[in-house]
């Protein structure tokens, strides 16, 4: 029996990927676990292993194609089956054609398996006559009356054909006004196309259509793909959902910089990199323990704040594929040394496109450091569904007034502009100021950081 190989569930809500490279050809022998494809998903590039030992009967995808979870990528023949048992079978072009029905060749599988079955069931359901009043809660029936809608016309999405308040509201929106027509009975089940889960678009007014740029001049159209597309959707959701507020301050890093220089070589010798980001991660971890609300998420649906008792800090990495945020887990349990090594390894993996989904998920707080590129301050977008992000600009030697008005001197200090951008639904400005003050305290006094963390 030929084995159909479908794109497996990649986890983390990822349901599609782009084929970067096909590593085998039809007729090739493969071993169980041997990489046959490279797929890039929204978050990472993955090598897809063969599920069997045998041979490649058919390849249904090509590089550059976007495939969905459940879609058939390849067909394998297990070892010991049919002619594949024989020594390397040089196939004639005719034979090849036979094994691949022509209509299949160009066919783009569009939906996961199982759709066909649902279509059949849906059709049957529509034929079934309905008796008795439409099932809907009394409050829902009242809502329909309030909106001037005949509830018998509303397409139900609830179990057993139940009309939900959302169904009524959706119908009212589509109808755009009170109903006057004679009611007709709805099908028992919702129609098939509605059974496929739809991605909920971010709320807010829809953007107006774009003008015809081509009329103005020559343009180039680059498709939004993988990381760029994910970033676009992700930040749009974050920006539309989260009321962002940014609070800024400056930390004196003179002492910390001396400390960093002192131990830099030792850390490098062990394969790490004692960067300011590492020290900031340590300071943030210590501060998060004192301010757990910054390590939370908000659930507006259930009206709850979810405080996480784990501290996984993400840090923004600029790669040639775009912005990625790898996550270091349980930072509060790791030494600065461990963090320095892990951060370096993780950054390399990310830059080489080898980071796993695990590397890129599960964060509770994010740090973004644009310092190496410059900047005197920034207000980043919160990494939804987190509730705060720490921004680090460039540390520069600044003239600082030491002493009081009558007796002072101006000294050169290494000053780092910091910003904490927070979700105002969960946090307030005063808390943000206190949180940032604590981070600054830790960064200004390395000894305190080690005692407190």
């Amino acid at each position: 029996m030929p084995v159909e190989f479908k794109l497996p569930d990649l986890g983390e809500g990822i349901h599609e990927g782009e084929i970067i490279e096909v590593l085998v050809q039809e007729g090739d022998k493969v071993e169980d676990g041997q990489s046959v494809l490279i797929v890039e998903t929204d978050k990472a590039t993955a090598e897809v292993p063969s599920p069997v030992t045998g041979s490649v009967k058919e390849i249904k995808v090509k590089a550059g194609q976007t495939v969905r979870v459940g879609e058939v990528l390849m067909v394998f023949l297990k070892q010991g089956e049919g002619e594949e048992e024989k020594a390397p079978p040089p196939k004639t072009p005719e034979e090849k054609r036979e094994t691949r029905p022509p209509e299949e060749k160009e066919k783009k599988a569009e939906a996961p398996a199982g759709k066909a079955e649902e279509v059949t069931r849906g059709t049957e359901a529509e034929k079934r006559p309905i008796e008795g009043p439409v099932p809907a809660a009394p409050s829902t029936r009242r809502l329909a009356r309030e909106l001037g809608i005949d509830i018998n016309r509303v397409k139900p999405t609830g179990t057993g054909g139940r009309v939900t308040p959302d169904d009524v509201r959706a119908f009212a929106e589509r109808a755009g006004g009170p109903e006057t027509e004679i009611p007709s009975r709805p099908p028992l089940r919702k129609e098939t196309e509605e059974k496929i889960p739809r991605e909920k678009p971010p709320e807010g007014p829809e953007a107006p259509p774009l003008p015809q740029f081509e009329r103005v001049g020559q343009v180039e159209r680059i498709p939004l793909r993988s990381v760029r597309r994910t970033t676009a959707k992700h930040v749009a959701i974050a920006w539309s959902q989260i009321p962002h507020v940014t609070h800024m301050d400056v930390a004196d890093l003179t002492e910390l910089e001396a400390f960093r220089r002192k131990y830099k070589e030792q850390v490098v010798a062990q394969g790490g990199n004692l960067s300011m980001t590492v020290l900031a991660i340590k300071a943030v971890a210590a501060a998060l323990k004192k301010f757990p609300l910054f390590n939370s998420s908000i659930d507006m649906e259930s009206e709850e704040i979810i405080i996480k008792h784990y501290h996984n800090i993400g840090f923004a990495v600029d790669t040639d594929r775009g912005l990625l945020v790898p996550v270091i887990r349980d930072v509060d349990c790791k030494s600065i040394f461990d963090l320095a090594v892990e951060l370096k390894e993780l950054t390399e993996r990310v830059r080489q496109g080898k980071a796993s989904n695990e590397d890129l998920s599960g964060g509770t707080f994010t740090i973004t450091n644009v310092g190496p590129m410059g900047g005197t301050g920034l207000s980043p977008i919160i990494n939804y569904p987190e509730v705060a992000i720490l921004g680090m600009a460039q540390a520069r030697l600044q003239p600082v007034v030491a002493g009081d008005e009558k007796n002072y001197e101006i000294v050169a200090r290494l000053m780092l502009p910091l910003s904490i951008t927070f979700d105002h639904r969960v946090l307030d400005g005063a808390e943000a100021a206190r949180f940032l003050n604590m981070i600054i305290e830790f960064l200004e006094d390395p000894e305190k950081l080690f005692i407190m963390s």
Partner: protein, 474 residues
């Protein structure tokens, strides 16, 4: 106070102070309207409070206590001989009614409703005359008619106060315990009040012109009650009519027609319980655009509006099931519609409870009705002999049934016969109103051991596996 032709202005005139009327008045007042309520009694409550539900249920509860005390001997608890003090019993009943009546008077006052004791007659679609009251003339923006119903009279019989031929009002006064009581009618009133008198010691003969008690209720629900009443009553005669009834000084002579053997019998008292007729006469409907149907019920739409735009009607006077709780909801709907809300009497399950022992409670679609309409349903039953609670209470004769749509699994109807059935039916009502599936009921944890578990188990039976009964062979 100004007497004579002083005209009282009001937003809403409610004619009738029964459950439908006072619920409407209270809702209207809560919605900020000026409300005037007219009723012949000294306070709101109507038939339900003064001459119906409340006194009858008070007496039924007492007789239930009595039976429990008697059957307790089987469980090892015995009391001294049973004594019935009729005066004390009457006092207790009046005390219960009085207490609730006082509460309603208070609720009326606190809501700022003007209560006029008297009789209202509509003069046109904006005016009513009130007799026997300080304010004799009312101008209203809207009226709600809630005049209720009265017992249907039997040909040749009059309900005189203190007479031997009684309606429910007379019977609930409990003048004496007649040795021989004839109950005409095997519906709610006949069975309930017949049970009270039989328990108190009367030899009750019941005649019903139908082939079964409680027509309209599934037979498997009325059967356990019928066998209980066979023992409690002297005799029950089905398919039997009264053709002649004659009261004299010491008794009532009755001539029957139908399946009964002894066609002529003498009784000490007779209770007529052959239905109720709407009180739509003598209230001035002819001066308005309000219309009544051929049986005298006021015609209304879903919003409780009569054919006269300004006038609404609720409760028994509009027909349908004559139940206090239904009237109350109709009253609230009328008040809300008058205030401009998009309300409607849009209910899918109106419960009904028979307070006999055992009780019968039903809501939604009955099995018989489904059969009549040719609707495909699946019926599940949970016999109380499998209920830990029922057995421990010594009432294992009950049964809970569920009428379910086999396609959608929706609960369409619930029927219960047994102790506390009335207390349990609300779950069925909620299930039906919410469009719940059998699974929803089966997956809701019911406390154990309780009688209400029987509803969970009946739902589970539909799903194929009920804990305390064996699955049906398929």
């Amino acid at each position: 106070m100004v007497m004579g032709e002083f005209t009282q202005e009001t937003d809403v005139l409610v004619i009738g102070g029964g459950p439908g009327g006072y619920a409407a008045a209270f809702r209207a007042a809560d919605l900020g309207m000026d409300v005037t309520m007219v009723e012949a009694d000294a306070g709101p409550g109507g038939v339900c409070l003064f001459r119906g539900c409340i006194p009858s249920k008070t007496l039924l509860y007492v007789t239930e206590l009595m039976h429990d005390a008697q059957r307790a001997s089987e469980m090892g608890i015995s009391f001294a001989d049973l004594k019935i003090d009729l005066d004390r019993l009457r006092e207790w009943k009046d005390k219960v009614v009085g207490r609730l009546a006082k509460g309603l008077v208070e609720l009326t006052k606190r809501r700022g409703i003007l209560y006029l004791q008297g009789k209202a007659t509509l003069e046109d679609e904006n005016h009513a005359r009130v007799q026997n009251s300080g304010s004799s003339h009312v101008r209203f923006k809207h009226a709600i008619i809630a005049t209720g119903s009265s017992t249907r009279t039997m040909a040749g019989a009059q309900f005189e106060p203190g007479g031997r031929i009684m309606d429910s009002t007379g019977a609930l006064e409990l003048a004496d315990i007649p040795e021989r009581l004839l109950v005409v009618g095997g519906g709610f009133v006949g069975l309930e009040i017949g049970s009270v008198y039989a328990s108190l010691g009367s030899k009750v003969t019941l005649v019903e012109n139908n082939g079964q008690l409680m027509p309209g209720i599934d037979r498997d629900l009325s059967k356990p009650l019928a066998s209980r009443l066979d023992a409690l009553f002297k005799s029950i005669h089905y398919n039997t009519n009264v053709t002649s009834i004659e009261e004299d000084d010491s008794g009532v002579n009755v001539i029957f027609d139908g399946a009964i053997e002894k066609k002529t019998q003498r009784f000490d008292r007779v209770l007529a319980a052959i239905g109720r007729v709407p009180n739509s006469q003598g209230i001035g409907l002819e001066n308005t655009k309000v219309t009544v149907n051929e049986r005298g019920f006021i015609v209304v739409d879903q919003q409780r509006r009569t054919t006269d735009e300004k006038i609404f009607a609720v409760g028994d006077v509009t027909g349908g099931a004559m139940l206090a709780h239904k009237a109350m909801h109709e009253g609230k709907v009328a008040a809300e519609v008058i205030s401009g809300m998009p309300s409607a009497f849009d209910f899918q399950a109106v419960p009904a409870v028979l307070y006999t022992d055992p009780q019968i409670a039903v809501c939604g679609l009955s099995e018989e009705a489904a059969k009549k309409r040719g609707r495909n349903v699946k019926v599940t039953r949970f016999p109380w002999s499998a209920s830990g609670r029922a057995v421990s209470m010594g009432v294992p004769q009950g049964m809970t049934k569920m009428i379910i749509d086999p396609e959608t699994q929706r609960v369409l109807g619930v029927g219960i016969v047994g102790r506390e059935a009335g207390e349990m039916i609300s779950e069925g009502v909620l299930a039906i109103e919410m469009g719940a599936l059998a699974e929803d009921v089966g997956l809701s944890i019911h406390p154990h051991p309780t009688l209400s578990e029987s509803e969970e188990e009946a739902a589970e039976a539909f799903l194929g596996s009920s804990t305390h009964i064996l699955p049906q062979k398929r």
